[in-house]
């Protein structure tokens, strides 16, 4: 018996020691110019895409705030699922003293909203979703950027390249086919690829597009397979709304061109990737955290565009882009900024052969079908005006959905 009690006492001592030597309990910082912010991510920076883009925004905002004399203590949590683990992660971040908690993925929002009432003094932000802004709570917020503007310009770059190939006689006009790897047939994706297509069409009138949905936001193999299949079906330009870089490498392996999302992909596919567009989250993080420290309200629904730097283009791959592309980008950027170019100009596309005259933006009764706020006016569909999250879900002519199962 003595042996047993000896071992038990040793164990007890060990656990007591562990208890005492544990890192001090975390709490909110007492210095008013120091703020503790939680960033909950669906992936980690190794995706070189979606989450990497957030981490980049985090670091950028930290630098900008430092210049203003504000110190940010980040608590970054990676690889959180769009499930109840997200609820737990929000509780954890709140208990560990975070004053602002940023959820980086669309699917986090419903799980985040389970927690927010327990912590009224903490600000919760759901990026890319749309329920927090309208839920009547003061401490929940949404944020997104006018990424369709960046998509449109990426489309212009792709269109110029295809038009160059047509002009040089490399392809016939009807061979200008874009293959688009989309995650799901979801408003954000539909809005993105339609903007991209319209950008391409504005400089290459004969262009058509095929969209393949892979059924996942992040599945490197499926994205690559979809891109390869699209190339084999005659697509000469690949673009993507998915988290990985594999569509770029797939495009290069088939000798076709590519434009990317979230990150510059010219490094891994220098012979294929022309340009990428991404949201610069640093702009938003800076504004939100700064507002918090100054005792101001964080906007309920934040959305800014290219002219304010919230959407940026990565560096153009001059070696393979069509001549004059850089000038055209500058011209379109200026047009978007002064309003002379509307991305969803209803005179530039048709739906079932007819011009789009009516589409609702918001769903107010919770049945997941938009039922209020007319988005079509002044000759254009106005995206991201009534809420930051995209709501363009119309299937326009010229874009073929290969599989709408997702």
């Amino acid at each position: 018996m003595r042996k047993v009690s000896f071992v038990l006492i040793a164990l007890l001592l060990l656990s007591g020691f562990a208890f005492a030597s544990g890192k001090a309990e975390s709490a909110a910082p007492s210095d008013p110019n120091t703020v503790k912010v939680g960033l909950l991510c669906i992936g980690d920076e190794n995706d070189q895409g979606y989450t990497y883009n957030f981490i980049r925004g985090r670091d950028e905002a930290t630098e900008m705030l430092k210049a203003d004399g504000i110190t940010v203590e980040w608590v970054t949590k990676y690889n959180i699922g769009e499930d109840a683990t997200c609820t737990d992660a929000n509780i954890e971040a709140a208990e560990e003293g975070c004053q602002i908690i940023i959820n980086n993925s669309y699917g986090f929002e419903p799980f985040m909203l389970e927690v927010v009432d327990e912590y009224p003094e903490i600000e919760f932000i759901s990026c890319t979703n749309c329920a927090s802004a309208f839920d009547g709570r003061d401490n929940t917020h949404n944020a997104f950027a006018d990424i369709y503007e960046g998509r449109y310009i990426a489309g212009v770059v792709a269109g110029l390249k295809m038009q160059q190939m047509i002009d040089e006689g490399t392809i016939a006009p009807e061979e200008a086919v874009i293959g688009y790897v989309g995650a799901y047939s979801f408003a954000e994706v539909i809005s993105g690829f339609t903007a991209y297509y319209l950008g391409a069409k504005s400089v290459c009138p004969s262009v058509t597009m095929k969209v393949s949905f892979v059924g996942s936001w992040s599945d490197a193999t499926a994205e690559s397979d979809a891109a390869l299949a699209l190339a084999d079906q005659g697509c000469i330009m690949i673009s993507q709304h998915s988290d990985n870089t594999t569509p770029a490498t797939a495009a290069q392996s088939r000798g076709v061109f590519h434009t990317g999302y979230n990150n510059d992909m010219t490094g891994i596919a220098p012979k294929a990737s022309l340009i990428s567009t991404r949201i610069d989250w640093g702009i938003y993080f800076y504004e939100a955290i700064k507002a918090y420290v100054n005792g101001e309200e964080i906007p309920q629904d934040w959305c800014k565009g290219m002219d304010e730097g919230a959407v940026v283009m990565t560096e153009l791959n001059e070696a393979i882009a069509a001549p004059g592309t850089a000038e055209k980008i500058a011209e379109v950027e200026a047009g978007l900024a002064d309003g002379s170019i509307q991305v969803f100009d209803t005179s530039t596309f048709t739906v079932g052969g007819e011009e789009l005259t009516h589409a609702f933006a918001l769903d107010t009764d919770g049945d997941f079908t938009a039922d209020s706020e007319e988005a079509v006016y002044d000759g254009a569909f106005h995206e991201s005006v009534f809420q930051s999250a995209p709501y363009f879900t119309v299937q326009i002519d010229g874009i073929e959905w290969l599989n709408a199962a997702y």
């Binding site: 071992v7 005492a20 544990g22 690889n79 109840a84």
Partner: protein, 362 residues
């Protein structure tokens, strides 16, 4: 037989060890596991003692953390209870994951489509019962094939998991999807959520009641005895006139039903929605718990709590020290490995051949 070479290491069953020694080995194995756990933490460049401290603090030091820990332990405990009778019978049910999932599907159906038509308590009762029946029926399928055609239950129950998860994936993107393309089933209304007692959903009460019921069932009832006899020897059971096929199906239905209840508790008490990862590995982790506790209901409480402490603590470990959660998974793995192997050394003796001299055959 005398000229066969004795192998270098032989195993012999032993029954002679006294309780004191057994417990020394068990406690020792935990200490060894904790010491081995130093290695991965050191590799991440952190102090192992403070890491263990954070694990304990993050799981037990505040009421909310303790509640979170209990929330993790409840499904583990219930599911270990569900598996116990099957394992006692030596029927290797590794399909609890799928049975949980199907129970969750049934409960979710009523939560989504009946919550505005039924009052709170009847709705929850229907969710509970439908979860149990669906989980039970899902488990009955492999049991039926086993009883009728003696199919391999290990593979069969394993495969059934993937079918169940596939069904949920389809529901998630298809008929039950909320916002188009979002892959998310809407959250349950408050009507379809089980109430909390002392800050944790009342699944913990269900779990403790199940512990008692399962203890009584396994040790005091005729059915529990039948299960034990089949586990010891199917032929003895047959000779004694037991209908083995029937007992196998009955026990599997019971096991699946409890797993189905776990599914109900998870969706209605913790997640408030359904997704394909609803079982989240509980069906597999609980196999280790059932084994470690040697199918003793009360021991399962302690072991599921221990694993929950590690899991919850790992979360805080990641938050405070930026140690990846996978490091905590490694420590959990080491712990389970050491504890399971200690049971091995308690039950078996290693006999190493001495140089040159042949051991006498017993």
């Amino acid at each position: 037989m005398s000229d066969t070479r004795t192998p270098l290491i032989r195993l012999a069953k032993r029954t002679d060890m006294d309780r004191k020694k057994i417990w020394c080995i068990r406690v020792g194995s935990i200490i060894i596991a904790l010491l081995l756990g130093f290695i991965p933490i050191l590799l991440t460049g952190n102090n192992p003692l403070s890491a263990y401290g954070v694990i304990i603090q993050g799981s037990l030091s505040r009421p909310i953390y303790f509640k979170q820990t209990v929330k993790i332990a409840v499904p583990l405990l219930c599911c270990a209870l569900a598996i116990a009778p099957c394992f006692k019978m030596r029927f290797w049910n590794i399909g609890a994951e799928g049975q949980i999932t199907m129970g969750a599907v049934a409960a979710t159906y009523f939560a989504l489509f009946w919550s505005n038509r039924l009052p709170h308590v009847p709705l929850l009762l229907i969710m509970f019962i439908s979860g149990a029946i669906t989980g039970g029926l899902w488990a009955l399928i492999p049991a039926f094939f086993k009883a009728r055609w003696n199919t391999n239950e290990t593979l069969f129950t394993l495969m059934m998991n993937y079918i169940a998860i596939g069904i949920v994936a389809w529901l998630q993107g298809g008929p039950w999807e909320g916002r188009k393309g979002s892959q998310l089933i809407p959250m349950f209304s408050d009507n379809a959520r089980i109430p909390t007692v002392l800050g944790v959903h009342c699944g913990w009460i269900i779990a403790l009641i199940l512990v008692l019921l399962m203890y009584v069932y396994m040790t005091k009832t005729k059915q529990g005895y039948e299960i034990a006899v089949i586990g010891d020897s199917v032929n003895t059971a047959r000779y004694a006139g037991m209908n083995v096929g029937w007992i196998v199906m009955r026990t599997m239905f019971l096991s699946g039903a409890i797993s189905g209840i776990v599914g109900f508790i998870i969706v209605s008490g913790a997640n408030f929605t359904l997704y394909k990862g609803v079982a989240n590995g509980v069906g597999f982790t609980s196999i280790s718990i059932a084994w470690l506790s040697q199918l003793n209901s009360f021991a399962m409480i302690a072991i599921s709590m221990m694993l929950a402490v590690l899991e919850k603590g790992a979360n805080t470990l990641q938050t405070r020290m930026q140690i990846p959660a996978s490091i905590a998974d490694i420590i959990t793995g080491i712990l389970l490995f050491c504890m399971l192997s200690s049971e091995f050394f308690i039950n078996y003796r290693l006999i190493i051949r001495r140089g040159g001299r042949k051991e006498e055959q017993p």
